[in-house]
Symmetry: C2
Subunit: 107 residues, 2 copies
DNA sequence: ATCTATACCTTGCAATACAAGACATTGAGA
DNA sequence: TCTCAATGTCTTGTATTGCAAGGTATAGAT
């Protein structure tokens, strides 16, 4: 019962939501999640996720130079990725409803 | 990005919440979760979870006869289990807040 | 006698988050 | 100049978990 376990199947959807808002690169997404209140999410979590989502055709990427370090890999949503985001939002809403029903204990 | 992954680290907390409401046995908890809106949760998920939580001292169990089948193993919360439930509720609330913040995209 | 519902359990698999590293680039300070 | 911190991406191995698929057993109904 750790926070780590509770994150499973959540982070990928959150990344899609962040990318949907604006083109973004991994390092920036980690900071973004932190800003939204998440405990620091490891890069060992984020980068493999992004690569998997690209392999699945949910996102595309382009390299761009940075003024303050090595090149950045900017990600954008594909139509399939938008659909995956919609699915995630739907499943998250469903989960939220069910868990809160159990917690509130109204039979 | 399956519903299965999203359930990880959630079901144990839900079981604690159900047990906290009233003494309960595994088979009944599965039905209860279903009633609260969850897709059917496998007994291969629930029984190992209950055994783990007992091993960790979060719940205790007693066998009682049933009128319609084999004996039932009724579970109750320990003080440690109540604490674990409180922790879960806190972590769930935190997760809910963060995910919804990302989704709503208010910077 | 057979079937269904009830009730518990086990084994093996697939998926995921993370720790702990490695590697490369840039600018600032000693 | 040398060093160091911040930036930026990636890999390997581990631990945990939900579940499918199966097994076992009891009680009542057909």
């Amino acid at each position: 019962m750790s926070q780590t376990q509770m994150m499973k199947g959540i982070i990928d959807g959150c990344l899609l939501a962040i990318i949907a808002k604006k083109e973004c690169y991994g390092y920036e997404m980690a900071e973004s999640l932190s800003k939204y209140g998440f405990d620091t999410i490891s890069e060992g979590t984020i980068y493999p996720l992004l690569m998997r989502m690209q392999r699945e055709g949910l996102v595309t990427s382009v390299l761009r130079a940075s003024t303050a370090g090595p090149k950045r890999k900017y990600y954008s949503l594909t139509n399939e990725g938008q659909q995956a985001l919609n699915d995630f939002l739907s499943r998250w809403g469903q989960l939220e409803k069910c868990v809160n029903a159990v917690i509130k204990q109204e039979n």
